[in-house]
Symmetry: C2
Subunit: 200 residues, 2 copies
Amino acid sequence: MVEKLGLRERKKQRTRQALIDAAVRLFEDRGYDQVTVAEITDAAEVSPRTFFLHFQTKEDVLLANTDVRVDLALEAIAERHAGERLPEVLVRAMDQMIFNAWDHDLSSGLAALRARLAASEPALQARLLQRYLTAQAELAQALQRAFPDRLDTTTAPALVGAMVGAVSASAVSALQRGDGPDEVRNAMRQAMALVARSVA
Amino acid sequence: MVEKLGLRERKKQRTRQALIDAAVRLFEDRGYDQVTVAEITDAAEVSPRTFFLHFQTKEDVLLANTDVRVDLALEAIAERHAGERLPEVLVRAMDQMIFNAWDHDLSSGLAALRARLAASEPALQARLLQRYLTAQAELAQALQRAFPDRLDTTTAPALVGAMVGAVSASAVSALQRGDGPDEVRNAMRQAMALVARSVA
DNA sequence: TTCAATTACTACAGTCACTGTAGTAATACA
DNA sequence: TGTATTACTACAGTGACTGTAGTAATTGAA
């Protein structure tokens, strides 16, 4: 976990983090589309071009570190506990992905800001959904490897899709009616349980 | 169904259709991002500005008429047959939305082109997913109205989300491994059945 | 038929996300 | 110490999308 990075790489990570920090601060102040990429790079004291060397799109600066979440879920599937059955593994993987990582970067405020902006900013919402879709494919593959006798190439994606779809939809609907974090959390867990039942 | 439209409105629909036709033709010829909006408007013989009076984004020209699909599903839910239970209604609504409308505009080639381009074009894929999400909210609301004793404000979105998520994921995965239309269709139906089981 | 209100469309100028390219200076490595 | 790599910059450009003001056709009423 303690990577020995060269000086060059450390500098690169520093500018990357500076861009993220600047973006988060400006977005919180003024809202997503009231901030230009040029303003972010100004605040981070780098050239505008540099932004796009680190992030493919303006939205992606808010999706930083989402890979980590997916990796957590993949690990959770791979580390299948003794005697654990399909629904349990699936729920544990989703739990890792959503709540463990949630707690982790709630401190940085990135996840909270992302959720808030995704609700109001269509471009960001669309990009986030797309990220979910690619994550789904990875999860489905891992899950099928873990349960080769139980899942085929059709049911594995369907099952993961149902999970992610149910959890997302319940979260969105909870957020839209103004629920607080705890209620959103409960709604998501309830959705997970609903889908888990279909494979019990 | 036979709307009496004024001359002005008919002209408007004609330019709208001209834009769609021109876009589809050009996209099929050269691919999505090799065609500019300016070229579409040139082909349709209108000004570039006119395009954005009819469609919010370049992607939206390919999402034309998707409202109709959602409306079909909403009708299917409202016209709940005698003695029909939750899973049956849900499956029938999804069926209407996906396959009935599919057959309908397969002739125009729009649905087929959309599916093909959505697989390769991230921007379009993202927009399509977003459209699904908004449709989900409507479906969940309608479904809860139809089954007020069975569904609450948490389970209704979760259930619809699971359905849409499962069907989408299975379709994507089938398309990615190069399945033909029939196999994709089967995968989608199988996904629907999987989720329907969870509420049986 | 005539006049006034509405509106689909156009022309034009501008913003901003994003890209290609060529150059510079710091780091890495032999 | 010299050479290769590479993160970054400067610059010029493309293309999606917007705001605004004007024109001409449709509409509905006098």
